[in-house]
């Protein structure tokens, strides 16, 4: 990512943040109309959490097909970023819940599903930590990611529809549901976050590759002789 893009991303996010407090009118139909502004920051984080989770499953699938360690690294990074945004979505979400519903935690299906998403990520990291051999770790964690995927799809899409939810289901995409000003600001912030996501992803991948290079160098120093000679 070029420096210009990084600077532009920073300016963009700052601009959207300022707009969310000045240009954006307080929303009607909320207990505290001002608190609706939190939604602008909360929803993009939640959407990104889910995108990261999808990316994790996708890279896991790619790894199992190709056995390319790079795909495994990308799957791991997606999970890490997913965890970061899940924490941000939960924290901003419970700030909003406190304003709107009077309690930071209501066991709402959407709250439950993000906690489960975090549990999956946590389990994924625990699994990675408990397998020593690298290719085995990659295989097992990819398999686990793909097993957890249908469960998460259920929790995110089916479960909130079975059980009554405090969250609106369709406001973001329907034409009538949300004030256009809100839609613009929200998706504006989302665009900024996506750019930041790509930035973080690339930076994290560079860290991973540098670590791999360091390990490789150690091993090539230790063993220069070819192994497995023929008679």
């Amino acid at each position: 990512m070029s420096t210009t893009t990084k600077v532009l991303t920073g300016v963009w996010i700052a601009a959207v943040t300022v707009a969310a407090f000045t240009w954006l009118p307080p929303a009607q139909g909320f207990r505290n109309p001002e608190s609706a502004r939190i939604v602008v920051f909360h929803v993009p984080c939640a959407v990104l959490t889910f995108i990261a989770f999808m990316a994790n499953a996708l890279y896991s699938w790619k790894y199992l097909r190709s056995r390319n360690p790079l795909a495994d690294a990308k799957a791991n990074i997606s999970a890490e970023l997913g965890m970061l945004f899940a924490v941000l979505a939960t924290v901003t979400g419970s700030l909003f819940a406190m304003e709107q519903w009077g309690s930071p935690w209501n066991w709402d299906p959407r709250e439950t599903s993000i906690v489960m998403l975090m549990l999956v990520y946590a389990a994924y990291f625990v699994l990675r930590g408990s397998v020593e051999e690298k290719s085995k770790r990659a295989r097992l964690s990819a398999a686990y990611a793909l097993l957890a995927f249908p469960a998460m799809v259920f929790l995110i899409w089916i479960f909130p529809r079975i059980v009554e939810s405090l969250h609106p289901t369709n406001t973001l995409f329907s034409r009538t549901g949300l004030d256009p000003a809100y839609r613009v600001t929200l998706w504006g912030f989302f665009a900024g976050l996506v750019s930041v996501y790509v930035w973080m992803f690339r930076l994290r991948l560079r860290v991973e590759l540098a670590e791999a290079r360091l390990r490789e160098r150690r091993h090539s120093e230790l063993e220069m002789e070819p192994i497995g000679a023929q008679p």
């Binding site: 290719s135 091993h219 063993e223 070819p226 192994i227 497995g228 000679a229 023929q230 008679p231």
Partner: protein, 206 residues
């Protein structure tokens, strides 16, 4: 029918540490071969790769029947293997172990036939005893029997004679000689008494 196993630049890496690198070899039935090398040189790893128990990091192992490539399922049917780290079910009796492995392989053998097979390895008297009560030699004979119950053309043996007495060694020698008449035997060993089972195919360094 001719059977052929071909190793093409096989390599295995564990945690960035190469255990095997660039091993190529080819064997064609009938005959017996050995893989030699000291402990820790990767003999067992190589044999497990040949058996299909381990996927190599680089290269591939091909099985050919009359020049035709076998798929995973056909390959499983073509291989019998005995190794120290492949155990039998100790709570089950000799007959139950044999019955399970024969059935899993798709062999429809009745108990009298299974008992006859056990007779061939001098285990008929102990057919209804749990494997946990068997001596090393008896276990090894039963392992050989279960590895050969589906009449595989390829027999892979990992240190088959370790902890065996003279009679046990003689028994293995007999089986190797018999199998080498029509199929392929590959023995991985570090024991000087076992090196004459076949001609050396691969010699691994430490």
């Amino acid at each position: 029918m001719t059977w052929q196993i071909e190793l093409r630049r096989v390599g295995k890496v564990f945690n960035d540490r190469p255990v095997l690198r660039g091993i190529s070899a080819s064997v064609c039935s009938p005959g017996a071969w050995t893989i030699l090398g000291p402990n820790g040189s990767g003999k067992s790893t190589l044999l497990r790769i040949i058996a299909g128990l381990l996927t190599p990091t680089d290269g591939e192992v091909l099985y050919l029947r009359n020049g035709e490539r076998l798929n995973a399922q056909q390959r499983r049917q073509a291989v019998g293997m005995v190794a120290p780290d492949i155990a039998l079910y100790r709570p089950l009796t000799a007959l139950e172990n044999l019955r399970f492995l024969a059935r899993a392989r798709g062999m429809h053998l009745r108990d009298p036939q299974l008992l006859e097979l056990l007779e061939q390895v001098q285990l008929r008297q102990r057919a209804h005893d749990p494997v946990a009560t068997f001596s090393t030699g008896m276990v090894q004979r039963l392992k050989l029997l279960t590895a050969l119950v589906h009449r595989p053309p390829v027999l892979l043996l990992d240190e088959p004679g370790s902890n065996l007495d003279e009679a046990g060694m003689e028994f293995i020698r007999l089986i190797v000689r018999e199998q080498a008449k029509h199929g392929i035997v590959i023995v991985a060993t570090n024991d000087t008494r076992e090196m004459d089972y076949g001609e050396p195919l691969i010699r691994l360094g430490a």
